[in-house]
Every structure is written in C-alpha cells, then in structure tokens.
C-alpha cells in the first residue's frame, strides 16, 4: 500500500495554565494520526505569521516510532504567510486545491482567536470535499476512500467510510500525540509561501466590530426549585446531588442482592 498524501492543518495553541503559545492539543493529535497513517507522505500546512515559533513543535513530531511508518528525517511545513486576524479560508482552499492531497486532517477547533471550528467546514464547502467530524482513528485509507472510526460520547465509536478527497477533524479521543523532539523540530523545513496577488487575503471585516474580552467565569447553574416553601427550596439547594430518593435494601443475602442489582440494571437498560 503506497502511503497516501496527507496534509495536516495546524495552528498555534495556547497553554491552558500559562497562556504560553505552543501546540494546539487537537492539532497535535491530528499530526499524530497523519504520521501513523502516512509517515513520509505527511506535509503540514498553516496560514499565519511566519515567525510563529510554536509551529516547530509539530515538526518535532517527525521522528520514528517503532511499529509505525517511517517519517523521514525532516518534517515539512508549508506556511502561507498571512497577517494575523485575516480570513485564511481562501488561501488554504487554493493551496489545497493545487497541492493534490486527498486527505486533510485537523483539530476540531482552534485554541486561539474565534475558535468557532468552522474553518474545516468552510474549506470543505468551498472545495466540494467531504467532511467527517470527530475522528478517533483511521482504520484504512487508499487513494479512493477511507474507513474511519468516529468518536461518540461515552467512549463509543461509529465506523464510517468516506470517499476522498476528504477533510477530517480529529477528536480528543484520538490517540495521544507522540513526543515532540528538539532535533527534528529544529531540522524541520518551513516553506514560506507568499500569497499571490490574485489570492487576495481578505481581511476579516465583521470581526472588527466584535468585542474581545477576557473570558468571564460562567455562573454555575443552581438547582432551581420553583414554587414550594422556602424550606423546600433551601433543602433542595443544600442537598448534595440527587440524594434522598434512593432505595436502600438491607438484610438481603448476597444472592437476593445480586438478583436485585441485575434486575435494576436491566430495568435501566444498562444490562441487556
């Protein structure tokens, strides 16, 4: 099986504790998934500031892992030079159209800026490609189609097959990214592509009217108990989660308790 050409859209992330820029965690998972799938056939793609050092983190992931395809000595990243705060959609779409890649992986949402998670959808719409969201694993991929495991809540999985070309967004449930090593990070090649006149980087105008503020702490929702007496409302507010309503069965022998448990699990459809 020849390894398919895979592009990974990466962006710089923001560390949740220190706020320092670094790799975006979902994008790193996308890179891991791509490297595990295609090895040397992976090229990273980013639109933004060429001086962004955090992109080197992804290049540092281009090292061998036993049992996975060889990734070569030098990672490649195509960087579409673009002023911050502008719309990357048309630039990236043009690049992907001409790059000849059939599979594009990326995280679900950016960690900086708007973080709306709409970019993959805009790209897919513009390119007329398929899109699969929330990928946990790619089981198989050839030049025509890919078989994908999609992550569902509570650790469940759904198997999908999709025709290429396709954009896939990678879920947090995907395998954790490999370590980024200093050597390959410094060796990796960043090819800066200056946008052509015709491409015309669109400044993101509507965004200019938005107001960006430090995130407010969202109020914790209280268990609102409408009506009733003050005492009842007070009791409901003070009770610790759902207590009180349970059945307590004592003086059962283990056999009877086991029956009771199995019956309960069946009635709640936990056990089939």
């Amino acid at each position: 099986m020849t390894s398919p050409e895979v592009r990974v859209l990466v962006s710089s992330g923001r560390h949740p504790v220190s706020g320092r820029s670094g790799a975006a965690r979902e994008d790193a998972r996308a890179v891991e998934m791509a490297l595990a799938l295609a090895g040397e056939g992976v090229t990273l793609l980013h639109a933004g500031d060429p001086a962004d050092a955090s992109l080197r983190y992804y290049l540092g992931m281009f090292h061998e892992v036993p049992g996975l395809p060889s990734v070569g000595r030098v990672g490649r990243l195509d960087l579409l030079s673009m002023p911050a705060e502008s719309d990357a959609t048309s630039l990236l779409a043009e690049q992907l159209r001409h790059a000849g890649a059939s599979l594009v992986l990326t995280g679900m949402r950016s960690e900086i800026g708007e973080g709306s998670g709409l970019l993959p959808y805009l790209l897919a719409e513009r390119l007329g490609w398929n899109l699969v969201a929330g990928v946990a694993a790619i089981e198989h991929c050839d030049s025509e189609s890919a078989t994908i495991l999609q992550a569902l809540p509570q650790g469940q999985r759904r198997r999908l097959s999709v025709r290429l070309p396709c954009i896939a967004t990678v879920d947090r449930a995907a395998p954790a990214p490999r370590q980024s090593a200093h050597g390959p990070a410094r060796r990796g090649q960043i090819r800066v592509i200056e946008p052509q006149e015709s491409a015309g980087v669109a400044l993101d105008e509507p965004r200019g009217q938005w107001r960006f503020e430090p995130a407010r702490v969202r109020p914790k929702r209280l268990k609102v108990v409408k009506g009733g007496s003050a005492r009842e409302r007070m009791r409901a507010a003070a009770s610790t989660g759902g207590g009180g309503g349970g059945r307590v069965l004592s003086d059962l022998d283990p056999e009877a308790a086991a029956d009771e448990l199995i019956r309960y699990l069946e009635s709640e459809r936990v056990l089939q």
Binding site: Q150, Q154, R211, V248
Partner: protein
C-alpha cells in the same frame, strides 16, 4: 401556671398560621392538638385527638395512644409544583428553529437548554410572537412539548438514520427555503454533536455571501437582547457580537423551560427535500472493549474501594458486566488499581450513565467525581455511609459476596446463551 406545664410559644408557627398566603399555611393552620388557653387552662382540639371508633362514631382518645397530627407528610414533589401553563400559538409572526441532538433518542439537558434559549428569542418581543419549531430526525421525541416547542417537524425517514450529515443538511436547507426561520439554534459541544450545526452554518452563509448576519456564532453561552457572548478558542476570551441567524450554543446557554407547556404540533414540509448522494456511509456502532475506554468517557463503571477483599473476583465481575473499572483513592494507594483508574476530584471526573460503587463509603472528593453520573448503585456494608445516601439503589451487604453472586448469575446466563446459540 396552675397546671405546671410549660408550653412554649412558637412564634414562627403563629406567624405562619396568621399568614394565609404562606406556602405551609395549610400545615400549620390545622388547630394544634392542645394549647394553653387564654386563662391558663389547657385546651384540646377534639378533631385532631379524636379518631373514628369501630362503631363509626368519633371518639376522643384519652389514652394518648394516637399521635397528634403534626405537619402533614405531603411529598416535597407536590404535584402542584409540576403544573405548567399551557401555551398555544396559532399564527406566529416568525419562527425559531431548534435542531436538538437527541443522543440515544431522548432530549439531553443540553437540548432542553437550547429550547429555553429558543423560547427566550421567540418570546422576546410581546408585539410579535415567534414559534419554536423543533426539527428532529427521530420519531420518538415525546418531551418536546414540555421542552418548549410550539411546532414539531419530524423527519423520520430511513435516510436520516445514523450518521447522515448530507441528507440531514439538505432537509434543513429545504426548511430554510420554505419557512426562513429567523434563528437556527443547534447544540455546540465537544463531540460530534455539533457537526450538523456547523454544516448548516456554512451552507446558509454560502447562500448570502458577505452578510454578517449569516456568519454563525459558535460556542454561544449567553444571549442578551441582540447580542450574544461566545466563548473564544482556548477558553480564555469571550467574544461579544451581534446575534446572527445561526447560533451554535453551549450547554447551559439558557434556563430550560419549566413553567409552560407548549403544543409541539406536528407539521410537515410542503416540498420534500431533494435526496442527496450519500458520500459518507455509516457502518454502525463498533463494539468497544469497556476496559479500553478512558475512564472519563466510560458509560458504565464498576468501582471498588476499601471494602473489596477479592480483587480478582472484582475484575471478573467487571468483565462479565461489561463495565469499565474504577477505584477509590484508597484502593489505588493500596496498589490494587492503577492511578489512572482513580475516580474523584483527585483522580478522574466520570460521566457514566451508571456507576456501581462497591465498598466505597463516599469521601467528598469521590462524590464530587461522580457528580455527573446519572444512576448510582452503592453496595456497602455500612447503611449510614454517604455513598448509600447518594445512591439511587443501595444494597447493604458484603461487596465481595454480592459481586461473586452477580458474576455467577451472569456467567450462567452467558453459558445458557452460548448453548442456545449452538443449538
């Protein structure tokens, strides 16, 4: 005080008795069984201390055997609290479309919040009344009336089953063309549930390029008048922006509807959606080994604590139940379980639909960790422990023995099924 009995006054009770509007007035307004009369004589109320005798006559019981009627034991969840005002709307001025995710075929609390937000938008202006249209891809969505939907479009064709983003999108597009809802509300969350909303957002934006109104707002957590607040990437910034047509809202974006009940009147589309080519094929759910699911995502957890003596038996039962294994901090500290399996504030917060705690008394940190579990079963030898109090079902007894009995039953059942299959 001729009788020598000191009867203490209860000013609060007196106050409540005087106040007819007090919610507990009915409890207190019943005359007390006995009270100190104005001239110091003890009075009895024959209505409360008397009982109907065997011959049908009311008798005053002087033996003191009958308990005096205290506050009535009416349930806290009085039916009157559940009474909702029925709202019907015949000719709405505009529509607010809600596409709930309905995981597992039921409205999630996130979906209910979304309807709450929809009502907020629909009822904002008393002059023009909006109707909330629920669009589901499932025939069974019975709670829509309570959730706040005035109309209900059920698209329950087979082509919408499973993961079918293209067909669903085409249907929503048809809705948009036919009825032009003023707003579209779809859930936004960490998982794949927010997929359809983004597809719709991009599709509708494509229909009216350049319009700011068409640029969807994602991760909305508050709507205030014409503006909404979106949580930016990386959770560190809020974006205040005008409310657009398509709103992808986070959980707890609004209070769910609780005071009114709506029609959820079924409606249908006049023009059938153009069938689209399915380029993504859904091959269905994949069996996942529960022990491989990360603890925070596991739907069913069997957790053991200090009360477990027979750990091999515990593992065996977990395997037979198909449950992921969890543990209390003590069990991890004692080396019976790996650190990654520790449940609680100092370990992993779990979201299981069903959580069985065996031999875990329920430290505060542990109870915090299972706050989001829907059903909790406690198996413990101590009926007074906090875990039993928290549990929906508590079985008092020896954890090892009960688990062994469960394992024996499940094994026998599997054996039977196997024989059945072979035959």
């Amino acid at each position: 005080m001729s009788s020598g009995i000191i009867v203490r006054r209860d000013p609060r009770a007196e106050r409540i008795r005087r106040n007819r509007l007090h919610p507990r007035h009915h409890e207190f307004c019943q005359p007390a069984a006995r009270w100190m009369g104005p001239n110091g004589v003890m009075r009895r109320n024959p209505h409360t201390v008397a009982a109907i005798g065997p011959n049908g006559l009311r008798r005053l019981d002087r033996s003191g055997a009958t308990v005096t009627g205290g506050p009535s034991l009416r349930s806290v969840n009085d039916e009157s609290h559940e009474q909702r005002r029925q709202v019907t709307l015949e000719s709405p001025d505009f529509l607010v479309a809600v596409v709930p995710e309905c995981p597992e075929g039921r409205l999630s609390s996130h979906d209910r919040d979304l309807f709450g937000l929809a009502r907020q938008l629909a009822d904002r202006d008393p002059a023009s009344s909006g109707a909330v249209v629920a669009i589901t891809f499932d025939h069974n969505a019975p709670e829509l009336a309570d959730a706040g939907a005035d109309r209900w479009l059920a698209l329950d064709d087979d082509s919408y089953a499973g993961y079918s983003p293209e067909t669903r999108l085409t249907a929503l597009e048809t809705v948009a063309r036919s009825w032009s809802p003023r707003h579209w509300l779809l859930p936004d969350g960490p998982a794949v549930g927010s997929d359809l909303g983004r597809r719709l957002a991009v599709r509708l934006a494509g229909l009216q390029p350049g319009s700011e109104e068409a640029r969807a707002a994602a991760r909305v957590w508050q709507v205030d008048g014409d503006h909404c607040i979106c949580r930016g990437g990386g959770e560190h910034r809020d974006i205040h922006r005008p409310l657009p047509q398509v709103v992808l809202a986070l959980a707890e974006c609004a209070e769910p509807v609780s005071e009114t009940r709506h029609e959820a009147r079924p409606i249908t589309l006049d023009t059938a959606p153009v069938p689209s080519i399915r380029r993504v094929t859904d091959h269905g759910r994949v069996a996942v080994d529960p022990s491989c699911i990360a603890l925070d995502q596991a739907p069913f957890i069997l957790a053991g604590g200090r009360g477990i003596g027979d750990w091999p038996g515990f593992h065996e039962t977990a395997r037979l139940l198909g449950a992921a294994e969890g543990a209390s901090r003590v069990a991890v500290d004692d080396g019976y379980m790996p650190r990654a399996r520790q449940v609680g504030a100092t370990g992993t917060f779990v979201t299981a639909g069903c959580y069985i705690a065996v031999g875990i008394s329920g430290a505060v940190q542990h109870l915090q960790g299972i706050e989001h579990c829907q059903r909790v079963v406690a198996i413990n030898s101590d009926p007074g422990c906090d875990m039993v109090r928290r549990a929906d079902l508590a079985l008092i007894g020896n954890g090892d023995a009960i688990l062994a009995a469960v394992a024996a039953r499940l094994e026998a059942r599997q054996h039977e099924e196997y024989r059945h299959d072979v035959a």
